[in-house]
Every structure is written in C-alpha cells, then in structure tokens.
Amino acid sequence: MSTENTSAQSAAEKKGSIARFIEGTELDTRMLGMVAALFVIWIGFDIASGIIRPGAGLLGGTFLTPRNLWTLLVQTSPIAVMTTGMVLVIVMRHIDLSVGSMLSLVAVAGAVLQVFILAPAIGVGHPIIWIAAIIACLALGALVGAFNGFLTAYGKIPAFIVTLGGLIAYSGVAFLLARGVTVAPLDKSFKLIGGNIPASWLGPFWSWVLAIVACLLIVFAVVNGRAQRKRFHFPLRPVWAEASLIAIGSVAVIGTTWVINSYPWPFGLIRDYALENNLTIPAGVENRAGDAICMAGDKIVRCTEGLIFYAGYAVPVLIVLAVGIVMSFIASRTRFGRYVYSIGGNPEAAELAGINTKLMTVKVFALMGLLVGVSAIILSARLDAATNALGQLSELYVIAAAVIGGTSLAGGVGTIYGALLGALMMQSIQSGMGLLNLEAAFQNIVVGVVLVIAVFLDQLYRRRIK
C-alpha cells in the first residue's frame, strides 16, 4: 500500500506542477487556453493603445481601464446572450443564420408596440407598457424560433436553408413593420434594461453583495459536489484542488467586481444627479484628469477629490450572468440539455433511445428565439430606438463566438461558458481595434482572420488530446 503510494507520488512529481495542478482540479485546459489568449489580447491592446495615446490603463494604454472594461462587458451582452442559445443549436448539428434578422424584427415589433400602439392607447409611461413590451418581444422571438425549428424538424428542410430564408425574410418583415424609419423614443422603464443610464446600474454596494453571494455559491457548489461523490464512494479530488477551485473562482468574481465598481459615472451624469437631488458639491481645485466633481468658485468642474459615484454592474451584464447560469444549468443538469448533447453526438441513437428528436429540434430553436428576444430588448433599450438595421450581421458574430468558444460545427460538443468567453473575445478584439482607430474595413479583416485561426487552433488542440 505505502510503496504504491510513494511510486504514484513520484510519478506525479515528475509531471511538473502545472500539469499536476490541472489534473487535480480537472479544469478544462481549453478554457484555460482561452482565458490566457484573452489576457494576451487585452495586454496587447493596452500596450498598443498606449503608444497612440497614453492613458490610465494598467500598462499605460486606454484598454485596461475600468471604463473600457465596463463598457466592454455591456457591449458584449447582446451577442453573449444569443451565443448561449447558438451553442445548443450547433451542438444539435443545426445552425441558425436568422438570429440577426430575427433580432431586428423583434426589436422593431417591440418598439412599434410601445410607441405606436400602447403609448397612444393607455398613455406614455404607463407601467403596463414596458411589461407588455418585454413579454411581446420574448414571445415573438420564441414563436419565430419555433417556426424555424418546425420547418427544420417536420418539414425536413436543412436548418441552414430554413434560417437562410429567415435571414432574408425576417429583415424584410422588420422593414415593413418600421416602414424603414427609426421607431423611438421607447418607454422610460423599458430603457432601464439597456444599461446606459445610472438607474440601471447596481452601484458598488449591491455589486459587492452580489459578489459575496457568488463566492458563497462557489463554495457551496464545491463542497456539495464533494459530499455527493463521497456518498457514492467515487474518487475524490484532492482537498488542495478543491481549495484552489474556490480560490480561483472567488478571485475572478472579486476581481471583476472590483473593476466594475471602479468605473465612475461620467462627469455630466454626476453633475445632473447632484443638481436634481440638491446634493452639496464640495469645493475643490479643478483637475481635468479627475473623475469626481467639485465647485471651483461657482462653477462645477472635474477634480480628483469631490463628489463621485461608481457604476457597479449594469442591467445587461446582470442579464448575461443570469442567462449564462440558467443556460449552463439547462445544458448540464436537465434532461433537455442531456438530450441536446446526445442528439448532437448521434441523432439516430437518440431516436432509438426513444427521444422525440423532432420536438427537441423545435424546442431548441424556440429557446434560441427566446434569447434573440432578450437581446432585442437589451439592444433596443440601449439605443432607446429600433430600426430594421438593428442586429444586422449579428448572426455572424454569434456563430463566430460560439465556434471560438469551442463549439464544434460537427455537433455534440460545446459549452456555455466557452461561448461566453468567445463572445467576450470577439468584442474585445472589436473594441480594441476601435481604440486603435483602425478602419472598419480593417477590423472586418482581423475578425475574419481571428475566427479562422481560432478554429484551426481548436482542431489542433482536439487532435492532440485524442
């Protein structure tokens, strides 16, 4: 017994500490690679942007600043939400090319409902308006998605064709609905979901509360998982590995929250808020680099010390968090998710096992549509308007994010967290290039190249672990 132990230990020691760490914690090496790549991209952009215009970033640029990272998260939200649905669609060996057009359609329909139908009927600002608009957007999205799924499953038309038709047709419907104009302004409460007004920010206190709750949940998940395995006498992870998992998770949560809570409201918003609420603004010395406000004589100016508010998590980011958790839960803990993956692995086997694969196809497309509805709400609320151009081409970014995040187009393989990381990576590249003032045409080239390289690296990775 003891000799066996020591020989196993020496074998493990030979492997090097990193390999041992990964093995013990059972962390997904592919995900670790993605996180590393993301950090490399961020660092690269911070350094590069610093060369153009020095800023307050970690490495002297303008990328690794709370402001940019905060915006990055908010901008990623609509794509991130849809990507979680696209993962399941692709895992089931289908594709949905129509999400961009569906988004325009849903957003325009929601806006028309608010601006042209409900507001005149029951009065601007009536609380029914935003509730009805949200329900309508979600329902319409789910319905259009289910229609895609129905044609695919029962009409036996390949999803590629069904949704290619949808890509063209749904944007046509959106155009007719809006008659080509911008439908605005949207309901005041509805706008909160967009996350670009202070009322839709959680603020530092509640953001910290959220972070602490998240950390406790991580601890609970690890401890509970261990108890379960113990109960059935399954092999356990070493205690140090469990502790590392808790530590890594908590550091990530706390770090993100710290960054999010360091983003101060823009100058104009603090001033307006202070004036509206009759807050006393302390006197101080003007400093154009500061984020707070103060009184220099009778003028309100920027300064380093003074009245300041921090944003905390914005509503769209909270929605992504919620959607990410729910979708991960669906994918890994429910029968529905298990069927999606099994069908993707072998559709015939799933059918022979008694799974109603056709109904599953309809459900997965309906879920995709529902998430498009969520994104349509976020995006139109953020813009405080809807046009038929909203969401155009987002299908490409959504699919690219899912694929970069490790979803295999051959079906059966893909994770929600991977896709969320993929979405963050796509958006990071786009925002980063924006900071570098690169032309849109050049940005497109880079995004395209990144997509192809990511899939190539993924193939290499998969061949190596086989």
């Binding site: 429910t334 298990r338 692995g345 086997a349 799933a350 022979l352 008694g354």
Partner: protein
C-alpha cells in the same frame, strides 16, 4: 428417435407453462425503394426462450428486428405481444412493451459518458427535477461491474472506448431496465473471449428469469450453444425455423447459403422448392 421424443415432451411442458408466445411477428414486410428488405417474414418467441436469427449479410435480420424495436415502420404485417396486437410505431412504443434492443451499430451517443448512455431517454432525476448524475454513475458502475469488471472509464465519452467496451455499454443499457423481450444484434462481435463468455452466462441467466431473447449471430457454435430455436432468413424471406436439436450444423449452413430447408425444420416462404 428417443431423443426427439424427450424434446417433444419438454416442449409440451413448456407449452403448458406458456402457450402464448411472448412475441409473435406475423407476415411482416418492409421495402426500401425497390429492395424488399423483409418479405412476409414470421417468427415467434416464448418466455425463457432464445431464438437465433441467422442469414447471410444483407438477409434482412437487422431490418426485421428493427421493425420489432420500433426503429422502422413496417409496410404490412402484424406484431403480437403476449397474444395482443401491439402498436409499435416508434422506439418509445417498443420500450413500453418491455422490448429492449442491442443494435448492431450499438446506437450510442459518442460524445457523452457511459452512464449518460445507459440512461439515455430514461434518466434518473433528483427530487428537484435535475439529472442525478451521481446516482446514474453508481448504477452504471454496478451493472458494468457485472458485464466487464475491468471497465473503469466512467468519466470519458464513449467515443474514446474500445469496440468491446462500447459493446458492453450497449448490452448494459439493454439489461438495465428489466426487459421482457431482449433483441441482441450480434452482441459479441467485438468482444474478447472472456467478455463473450460473460455475455453467454448473462444470456443463460436472463433465460432463467423468463426473458425471451432474439439473438442475431453469424457464429453457429454460439447459436447451438445458447439457443433453443433458430430461424434462417435469405433475401428478406424466412427459409425456415427449427429447434436446435432437430438440425445439424451442416444443415443450418445449407439453409443459410442455399436456402434449403432440411426435414427437421419447418419451411417458410423463402425455402428452396425441391
């Protein structure tokens, strides 16, 4: 001669105990395009009996049992389960009748692990309506321990398992849910000698429990060792069926290759006219 008499006596006793066949497939046909894959085939199965389905490659054995398991809709014919006509139009229906199948292609979802495959379509759930993966893994460890004690790779997707290990998973899945009628389409094709012997033991055990088994096999030795009766197909038609004791191995080969029905067998529509 004395031999035949004893067999008849045993048969009479069997018929007393269970004179209603567990499964009675009557005059079933299916065609794919122009190919009559199964052409007016009939075969029955009694509780505790193992019936071998034999035939050359492409004879229609797999297609016939896939009709029984609900994988293919038949063009004509009837299926009776315990004397009552059965409505089997999809795999769910067949499972509801206690029909479990080990497919020749194994029909495993390659990207999920052994436990997920064992319980595919019949997952164990926790109180909160979520998948109970731990309980499923525990059950999987139990049943796999019986079939293939060396099997340890419970966490990996089944695509990374060996052919024999995959076959063990498919067999385990079929016996996990108290099948009354078990269909085994070449269950030991990829198994090593030890695992094959284990499956043989398993078949004998299941037989004792009163389960009826259709066994498709190309191995005449195995058939004579494990089965009570055999039915031979050729070009989608039944050549004939016989009790294992009533025919010789050479006669069975003659049925498979030439379609010639020996005197000890009951001829079917596919028998060669003499």
């Amino acid at each position: 001669m004395a031999n035949i008499e004893t067999v008849n006596e045993v048969n009479a006793a069997d018929a007393q105990a269970a004179n209603v066949p567990l499964v009675d497939i009557k005059d079933v046909s299916i065609a794919f395009g122009g190919i009559k894959a199964v052409d007016h085939a009939s075969v029955d199965l009694f509780p505790g009996e193992v019936v071998a389905l034999l035939g050359h490659n492409g004879a229609g054995k797999s297609t016939l049992i896939k009709i029984l398991s609900g994988a293919y809709p038949r063009d004509s014919g009837q299926i009776f389960v315990r004397g009552e006509e059965a409505e089997i139009s999809n795999p769910r229906d067949a499972k509801a009748y206690g029909i479990e199948t080990i497919y020749q292609t194994l029909a495993l979802a390659d990207n999920v692990d052994a436990a997920a495959n064992l319980f595919l379509g019949r997952e164990l759930m926790t109180r909160w309506g979520t998948l109970d993966d731990t309980a499923m893994e525990a059950e999987a460890r139990k049943v796999m321990g019986r079939l293939n004690p060396n099997f340890k790779r419970f966490k990996e997707p089944v695509s990374s398992l060996s052919g024999g290990q995959r076959q063990s998973v498919a067999i385990a899945r079929a016996i996990l849910f108290n099948a009354r009628i078990l269909i085994m389409d070449e269950p030991t094709a990829a198994l090593g000698p030890q695992e094959t012997a284990q499956v043989g033991e398993l078949i004998k055990q299941l037989k004792k429990d009163g389960i009826g088994i259709f066994l498709i096999s190309h191995d005449i030795e195995d058939v004579f060792d494990l089965c009570d009766r055999l039915a031979v197909m050729k070009n989608g038609q039944m050549v004939g069926s016989a009790k294992v004791g009533d025919v010789t191995k050479d006669e069975v080969l003659g049925m498979i290759i030439l379609g010639k029905c020996p005197p000890g067998a009951t001829p079917g529509p596919g028998a060669l006219d003499e």
